[in-house]
């Protein structure tokens, strides 16, 4: 069964017809040619497909495209302003917080979403004091970024980059 849907991807209105079994990730990659979100596991276990979905980070491999008709999606490509990198991307470059780059767009979207969550006062598993706003400690960054796996082992640089970008 096919369905016609509209998605706003990185600020551009796109319409497409998808098999209703199509994930948001496959809709972006196979239908729209938007290759910034990556497929690492297709099971919500690695985070490589993370985008900002209506402003919040989401795993597109666990979302059916047909359920997100009308949604606004920001990928790592859309976070950059033309040739100018987003401050989080620039910090990743400065700290060499990537190697093969395959998990990287997901890390970037996750970091941007995570900093917003922190700013909005969302606690995490490691937040000690639930009565006030969580602080941006390295432990908070590590905990909140643990849904994004990196096999090249760039974690220490990722934490440093996010700390730097947030300050």
């Amino acid at each position: 069964m096919d369905a016609r849907i509209a998605l706003r991807v990185d600020g551009v209105e796109r319409t497409l017809t998808v098999d209703t079994r199509t994930t948001l990730l496959d809709a972006l990659r196979d239908h729209l040619g938007e290759m910034s979100p990556k497929k690492g596991c297709d099971h919500g276990q690695c985070g490589a497909c993370t985008v900002l979905l209506d402003g919040r980070r989401a795993l597109t491999c666990l979302a059916f495209a047909v359920a997100y008709d009308g949604a606004a999606i920001t990928t790592a490509r859309g976070l950059a302003d033309g040739g100018k990198l987003h401050p989080v991307q620039q910090a990743f470059l400065d700290h060499d917080a990537l190697q093969c780059g395959y998990c990287t767009p997901g890390q970037i979207c996750s970091a941007v979403g995570m900093l917003d969550e922190l700013k909005a006062g969302h606690p995490s598993h490691v937040t000690q004091d639930l009565s006030g706003a969580a602080e941006l400690t390295d432990d908070e960054i590590r905990e909140r970024m643990s849904g994004n796996l990196c096999r090249c082992g760039a974690y220490v640089n990722i934490v440093a980059a996010i700390r730097d970008a947030a300050s």
Partner: protein, 694 residues
Amino acid sequence: MNILLEPRAIGMPLERLDGAAKLTGTAPYAFEHPVSNPLYLHPLQSAIARGRITKIDTAAAQALEGVVAVITHENAPRLASDKDKELWVLQSDEIHFRGELIGAVVAESPQIARHAADLVQVDYAEQPHEAELRADRGDLYAPEQVNPNFPTDTAEGDVEAALAAAAVTIDETYTTPMEHNNPMEPHTTIARWANGELTLYDSTQGVHSVRTTLAPLFGLDPARVHVAAPHVGGGFGSKGTPHAHNVLAALAAQMVAGRPVKLALTRQQMFALAGYRTPTIQRIRLGADRKGHLSAIAHDVVEQTSKIKEFAEQTAVASRIMYAAPNRRTTHRLRALDVPVPSWMRAPGETPGMYAGEAAMDELAIACGLDPIELRIRNEPDLDPESGKPWSGRHLVACLREGARRFGWDRRDPAPGARRRDGWLIGMGVASSTYPYYAMPGSAATIRYGSDQKYVVRIGAVDIGTGTRTALSQIAADALDCPLTAIRLEIADTSLPMATVEGGSSGISSWGSTIVAAARAFRSQHGADPGEGSEIGASMPENPDAERFAIHSFGAQFAEIHIHAGTGEIRVPRMLGVFSVGRIINPRTARSQLIGGMTMGLSMALHEESVLDPRFGHVVNHDFAGYHIAANADVLDIEAVWLDEFDPNSNPMGSRGIGEIGIVGTAAAIANAAYNATGRRVRDLPLTPDKFLT
């Protein structure tokens, strides 16, 4: 003679040149290459470990709208060579391991292909299989050699007599489990067959090696096979050789000639089809006098291979060169099982072998009442014990001493289980690292001075995330004595000159030497002010110096561990690696590689274990939920530094390669720290909490 380059761009901590493209997700990986009107392939895998297919009913799949082809052994095109049985795909009804490829559906969408794959009915005649590695079996055998071409066994002196006479002996068995490389980018390929030519956009560590492997398999002239790998999402050895899925995609492309066929293995499929590190069972015996001087080292290894293709991991090879002992022996014995084909995984041989060897050295230090660093210093060999050649800069002791100073080793309490804070047992451990220097002959490069006043440097190398693009550009700039901005490097395509595979930490050594040779030839031929269109090519030169020396990298790894006395929870708050690896080409990307290797070593030490169910022959935990690799919260403080040096004998850059040494010794440092923290010696990896309870 090896003439060293004057480093100018070399040694600069440049940002990686493809950084911005990767950070925005616009750097194309294999599956992302734009092709028109593609088809999607979903593989079929055997549900038994050994036997035959008696019937394969594809009617329901064929009938599904959108299915273009269902391929099985009954209708697949014939291959031309069965030399490599891993690649002998869909050529018979025989099953050799569970998860082996037995067919594929090619369809207009990935959804249809996957649905149709579920509709294929397969009947089997099952035969008994064996999928469990055990050391107590009579059918172990000695391979002719171990990877890549080391002797299977070595023996010098009389180990048994030396052990019998030794004042202090260690005799222990260490095991490492089956482990899977798991690069973040799955193995993917786009195959197109048109006009008798095969084109692959492939996720590989060597475009030319894919060509030279697949061409004879399909009976093609190599010039008719084109391979491109613009960006590769990690490999760690698992993309070092083409695997069965490459052949499957090419067979499918042949059947639907003209249309590109896209294949991305699922994460689950990668556990059967993309190689893995063999489990190892390692018995180590050490003999020493009371002052810790080694008289004997014996390292006997049992590991597995597959019945269809032999891979013999060189696990004991590092023990041949590490320490001075007049009596030494190493052996490798294999058991061939009905299991997937093992292959390279980051520092094959050294990684499991140095885990066992360096844990045994820790045990010897305790038995002798010595500091483990002092024990290693006392057994430092003047010459390579194996070849008798002089070292080309063996600085293990300097690494150990520098690491001890930086890490605060003097604050370690040698008594096990002596430090406790808030319910956590605290310990520190150390281990040595080593990795041999490899440069592989066979690469070629061309340099052309273009109309835009840039030097176009062409070589069919790849960048799997190591920073090849950046480092080779730096080398080219110094070799041509020009600014980095005047270099335009082209890599990752078989239309470029031959380049050897990215493996054995040999990439920069091999390709860099080749570029330097081409640059020197260019200047010699065309001078400092070349005319537009001036061009020259060169191959990797021989380096006779390399034959006169034992060229190895060394390092020292330190770890602090906290183990909760009540729960067994393990945290590693600090790790430090100090490495002697020759000249560093790019400190920024080099640090990332070394830290990355140590992070993978931490993951090996604490988490990684592929659980193969011997009843069925498959890896049960075949995804990231079951096969845990270190996540961000598992990693705390890891630092890597190196000695400021160059190797005068390795190559014109003075470098030795750094992709692998970072993982070597890490697990031993952590296991040794765990003993220091708890007094409990866990010899079987991974170090999971349950092993520290009871």
